[in-house]
């Protein structure tokens, strides 16, 4: 069984196996040999107080088998040198991590001072016994979550010494999910067990094949390397079938990563699709609107941390309207103060808005400092879940959902509101719209505010996955422009398709050429693509084009 460990660690492993073996033997004797008695806990605890290593080892075994309510706490305390005893009364106490003293027998707070107590000492043999006891306790633990974790842990560690325990646990298990986990753990052990029968191995291989993930693959490869004949054939066929499944999952995972990246690109670019795409204003300060949104999130979270810690999970929901308002007002101010004097002069607009972006960056740097600011994730965005062979983090998933929401809301505003109607009228034919009584100046300002506000909302989402620093906006501005240009100016669906396809293409290129070269290739691709279709994927047709 040392074969499963690295060669250099073989000696250590052998020692550990010996210890585990002894501990296991003791445990088995105790668990099945002598029925646990109610007052046995006193004898066990007294062993701890004897201050001898073999006695301590025995005590550990007895404790693990006793099923005492305090057993887990005592063993944890022992491992961290928090188990104490009184040398004269032989009473045993443990401290919790905070340092409070408890009576080991009852688990209640002890009314004594820690002053006269001695620590229960540890050596390597005791530590080994302790680890084994903890593992066994969790395999047989009454808590289903712990049992499941223990089964997974055995599956991963392939610790052969746990075999008997796993079989015992399997026989008793009623929860189908945990039962499956134990079956898989058993199969993992059998697949590499030296004295397993052929039938057992074949069964193990079938179980592993049904599990079908990367870990199972590793076990099957190990099994195939050591086995002969029918077992080897079964293992190899399982490997071949798993390879195919894994490749499919890997590609799906890449698609998922790509969609995730694409949604980030889309979020950053969608506001620009309004200001640049629909209105034709080259807003180089767009990235700074995103930055303003991110800093709004930061301020909201700081406020919540200081005054209303309970609201932290709602911080993003609070930040979204605020970010929209702040970035939107900033956008309207920029439009009224600068851009409106520059309509029809796109290159000048580009320069002036670049100047504004520099000012905003420096203003934030002066106000908040040049360092990254810490924006936390609410609890519902933390963690991940498995979907088939996909590993999906909640944070990324919510960003995709959020992006879709923003996109649909924007479409709704443009298609179904009077403001959207007027805005489209102005962009399609400014003079005609004006003749129809639309206040084009007001529409310009509001449309610019809308685009900027959406950039601010994007900032709320991006604050979750990127560093919130004064440079946040700059890192998105080139990408955003390329997405809009690639998708076709004046076309939100084009922006959507462009962002998602660029994201997916990027993630599929990355494994082959690396992240940086992949990005370079995409840039070159877009440059060449624009030569072929200067107006993007979905070009507007008609009179508005040359305007």
């Amino acid at each position: 069984m040392t074969a499963s460990f690295g060669r250099g660690r073989a000696a250590v492993a052998a020692t550990r196996d010996l210890i585990c073996g002894i501990a296991l033997a003791i445990l088995l004797c105790l668990a099945w040999g002598t029925p646990a008695r109610a007052d046995a806990i006193d004898d066990t605890l007294a062993r701890f107080a004897s201050d001898k290593f073999p006695e301590t080892e025995k005590a550990i075994g007895e404790l693990a088998a006793s099923g005492a309510t305090t057993a887990a706490a005592i063993l944890d305390a022992l491992g961290e040198n928090r188990l104490l005893f009184n040398p004269s009364t032989r009473a045993v106490y443990y401290k919790d991590a905070a340092g409070t003293l408890f009576d080991a027998k009852t688990g209640e707070k002890a009314g004594v001072e820690a002053g006269g107590l001695k620590k229960v000492r540890l050596n390597n043999a005791v530590r080994g016994a302790l680890e084994a006891a903890k593992g066994d306790m969790s395999i047989l633990s009454p808590d289903p979550a712990r049992r499941l974790a223990a089964a997974e842990s055995v599956f991963k560690s392939r610790d052969q010494s746990a075999f008997a325990k796993v079989e015992a646990a399997l026989a008793k298990e009623t929860d189908t999910r945990i039962k499956l986990a134990f079956e898989q753990a058993r199969a993992a052990l059998l697949a590499t067990k030296v004295d397993a029968s052929e039938a057992q191995r074949l069964e193990a291989i079938a179980t592993l094949r049904a599990r079908g993930d990367q870990d199972a693959m590793g076990l099957l490869e190990a099994a195939s390397a050591t086995a002969q004949g029918a077992v080897k054939a079964a293992a190899d066929s399982a490997i071949a079938s798993l390879n195919l499944t894994l490749a499919v999952w890997k590609n799906l995972q890449n698609v998922w990563y790509g969609l995730s990246l694409g949604s980030v690109l889309l979020l950053a670019a969608i506001g620009l699709a309004i200001t640049f795409g629909v209105m034709g204003v080259i807003n180089m300060a767009h990235g700074e609107m995103v930055m303003l949104g991110a800093y709004t999130t930061f301020i909201v979270q700081e406020w919540i941390r200081a005054y209303q810690p309970g609201l932290f999970d709602y911080s993003l929901a609070i930040a979204i309207p605020l970010a929209f308002a702040i970035a939107g007002i900033a956008g309207i101010a920029i439009e009224r103060l600068v851009i409106r004097f520059l309509y029809g002069r796109p290159l000048e607009t580009l320069l002036a808005t670049w100047g504004i972006s520099l000012i905003l960056q420096q203003a934030v740097r002066t106000g908040f400092g040049p360092n990254n600011r810490d924006v936390g994730a609410p609890s519902w965005m933390a963690g991940s879940f498995e979907l088939g062979g996909l590993s999906i983090t909640y944070g990324r998933m919510w960003i995709i959902v959020f992006t879709i929401g923003v996109f649909l809301a924007l479409q709704l505003v443009l298609r179904a509101t009077p403001f959207g109607l007027r805005m489209r009228a102005v962009t399609q034919n400014r003079r005609m719209a004006s003749s129809m009584g639309i206040n084009t100046n007001r529409i310009d300002a509001l449309a610019f505010g809308l685009g900027s506000g959406i950039a601010g909302i994007a900032g709320v989402a991006l604050s979750q996955i990127d560093n919130v620093s004064p440079n946040l906006g700059q890192s998105y501005i080139i990408d955003s422009f390329l997405v809009v240009v690639f998708g076709g100016v004046g076309n939100l669906w084009g922006t959507l398709v462009a962002a998602l396809s660029l994201g997916v293409a990027n993630k599929f290129l990355e494994p082959f050429v690396g992240a940086v070269l992949g990005k370079i290739l995409l840039l070159v691709f877009i440059i060449l693509f624009i030569q072929k279709r200067p107006r993007g994927l979905f070009a507007l047709k008609g009179r508005a084009v040359e305007a």
Binding site: E348, I356, V485
Partner: protein
Amino acid sequence: MTSARLLDLRGAIFAVVLIAAAILVPIAALAVPPASPFHVPAYVIALTGKYLCYALLAVALDLVWGYCGILSLGHGAFFALGGYAMGMYLMRQIGARGVYANPNLPDFMVFLNWHDLPVAWWGFNSFGYALLMVLAVPGVLAFAFGWFAFRSRVTGVYLSIITQAMTYALLLAFFRNDMGFGGNNGLTDFKDILGWNVQAEPTRAALFSLSAIALLIGYLIARAVTMSKFGKVLVAIRDAESRTRFLGYRVENYKLLVFTLSAMMAGVAGALYVPQVGIINPSEFAPANSIEAVIWVAVGGRGTLVGAAIGAVLVNFGKTYFTGALPEYWLFALGALFVLVTLFLPKGIVGTLGQLFARERRAAVGARGNRVPAVAE
């Protein structure tokens, strides 16, 4: 007034100033004793030499932007490529004096455990070849880029954005160690140029004079181009591209030629810049640098050439002053400059002054005409 000479009054003053600087500054730096009030300290030479290189870049940019309406946000890339070509020559001149004392490979290649000189580096121990590359690399890139872009009629803002994407792609590429151009750290620790120590004061003075002369030559070339019939077509393209095309001119060829020429001038500026500042690294490709160069031209006055050079020197002087005295406020000042110049001084300093003079003269003589090309779009 349309039959203007190659050197009008403005150009003549510019030429005299540059020639005087090229001759007098080295004398003031080397021959005048340090105690004298006319002595020019070494750091001033290094600084002003750098400004002159920027001025040449600005003239190159003005040629395409001011006269042909091509707002390139990627001229910093041509500048940097010229700089890299010169930097590679300077790296090869280090020879065995590097930290690893490898006679064949620059230090960073030894560090990366390479054994052979990459093909891209072959020939760079010859100064002539390096000079050729200073012109050829930016020129070929600009030609290839322009060939595609102008043929498919990518114009205006779209062109600006893809030039920006170009320099951004180059920035990312040069950051990679695998490219073989020193990665993140770029090229530095130069020792000799043509056998002279780059750090020595006489070399620095000579480089300063060369920069002044290069700027003058660049100005004269640009001026000759814009004065010619070719230049008139460029202005026509700037003001009404479709109309010029319908009149039968091959717009893309005109654009391609002037874009390539401008890129080569930018490459020369970069090549003169590198030995004076002693380093070239990928951050020179940063899109922000290219946009900053555009504001030099805008401040000085686009379509005036002299103005571009003056704008480059003024803005960079301001930058040096601000980053030294009030580092917090430099970006505020630069940002405000972008906004205010585009809003209130669209013709730039020289353009506005020229307009004022022209109006006075017209009032005095009753003459017609305006030598300053109108700034459109």
